[in-house]
């Protein structure tokens, strides 16, 4: 025994927002239709059977899944440097420096793009002429400078020599005067010393003569007394 309304009615029965009058209609039909009623009971039983599901525990697993850096282990300097985009300005600076140092030039011609390192060949002759001109100019400037420096040095030397000679002459005359006065002083002192020595010598001679006279007097006295 089957019912043509079963699927339509039961599908509506499981709807979320079944209107009260629609539910009443379905309930009315279920009360009279054994097939639909049995079918609904079986479906409800199946649904409640599914709800007997027992939550199963999650097996142990790594919840961080290497999404986070390990705590307490700081990233290396290199890893930190490359972790963001902070390396971009540095890389750009290096690239610019390399371009400037290598004198890289990109030329687009008939055969596509070409990259050249150093001066392009067509400019090399001009560059050499300019370099030669610059070199000769620098040489002449340098020579003029040297000449000026030499002149200045010569005049300075003459002045210095004159000053040294003047100072030397002055010093020499002063020295002569000092030496003269020193020798004069020494001569006077020596004369004084000689005079004192001579007087002492004379005095000692007088002493000797007086002793001889006393001795002679004594001897003559002894002779007379005998």
């Amino acid at each position: 025994m089957s019912c043509p309304k079963t699927d339509h009615l039961l599908q509506e029965y499981f709807a979320d927002d079944l209107a009260p009058f629609a539910r009443e209609e379905i309930e009315k039909h279920l009360a009279t239709c054994a097939h639909c009623s049995e079918e609904l009971g079986a479906l409800m039983q199946t649904q409640s059977s599914l709800r007997q599901w027992q939550e199963q525990r999650v097996p142990h697993w790594d919840r961080r899944m290497n999404l986070f850096p390990a705590e307490g282990k700081p990233q290396s300097v290199i890893a930190r440097f490359f972790s963001g985009l902070q390396w971009v300005p540095t890389a750009a600076s290096f690239a610019m420096l390399a371009i400037l140092l290598l004198n890289v030039s990109v030329v687009s011609g008939d055969q596509g793009f070409s990259i050249a390192f150093g001066a392009a060949a067509k400019n090399s002759l001009n560059l050499q002429a300019e370099l030669a001109a610059l070199q000769s100019q620098q040489q002449s400037e340098m020579q003029a400078l040297i000449a000026r420096v030499e002149d200045r040095l010569d005049s300075n030397n003459v002045r210095l020599l004159q000053a040294v000679m003047e100072q030397t002459q002055q010093t020499t005359s002063e020295n002569f005067e000092q030496m003269y006065s020193y020798f004069e002083q020494q001569r006077l002192l020596d004369l004084q010393d000689m005079r004192v020595g001579y007087e002492q010598l004379v005095n000692s001679d007088y002493e000797t003569i007086r002793s001889l006279q006393q001795l002679a007097n004594f001897v003559s006295y002894e002779g007379s007394s005998r």
Binding site: S49, L50, Q52, W53, F68
Partner: protein, 193 residues
């Protein structure tokens, strides 16, 4: 609820690089996601793979979560999409490796086994789940997803329609068809009391 217990606070902290906040957030939802995975894939290995894919997806898109919807709804939308992707990948892989014709949706392990590392006292519980899985894995994936969303995630047909990009009526019909099929399987095998 303290600030750190709030989903939004945990999300903000995780976005600032707090692994602790991220783990707390994952712990809060991992059970539901894992069990969803078990019911949709039919086996623990695929359920674990799916769960990891879901949380990697959540982490990578966390900065896009604006908070205008519930975080759990957003997360289960990702889980739904990942399950669909995974089923598609498996179907593709099996169609290449096996010449045998497969009914759509039966690409996961059709007869789920009891995990070998389950303790004895959990066997009864696992046995009941195994019977449910035995029924669910007989459904095509689109019907299995509707049953999952309606019965286990308690979504309305309107929400299911939005998530699956189908009409509400199609969602209702799909659910009813799935329920009828499950009833037939149960009657056929007398697996349920």
């Amino acid at each position: 609820m303290s600030p750190i217990e709030d989903d939004d606070a945990l999300i903000a902290a995780a976005l600032n690089g707090s692994a602790f906040a991220w783990e707390k957030l994952v712990k809060r939802f991992e059970g539901r996601v894992y069990n969803l995975g078990l019911r949709l894939t039919g086996n623990p290995t695929d359920a674990m793979d799916l769960m990891q894919e879901v949380f990697i997806g959540v982490y990578r898109n966390l900065h896009r979560f604006r908070g205008d919807a519930k975080f759990s709804s957003w997360l289960f939308r990702i889980a739904h999409n990942k399950a669909v992707d995974m089923n598609r990948r498996k179907r593709l892989l099996m169609s290449k490796s096996k010449s045998a014709t497969l009914e759509e949706g039966d690409v996961f392990e059709t007869i789920p086994g009891v995990p070998r590392d389950e303790p004895e006292n959990r066997l009864g519980e696992v046995q009941l789940n195994r019977q449910i899985l035995g029924m669910l894995t007989r459904l095509p994936m689109d019907q299995r997803l509707v049953v999952e969303l309606k019965v286990f995630q308690s979504l309305t047909f309107d929400e299911i329609a939005v998530m699956q990009e189908i009409s509400e009526n199609t969602a209702k019909t799909r659910f009813y068809t799935a329920l009828k099929k499950l009833k037939d399987i149960a009657e056929e095998h007398h697996v349920l009391s």
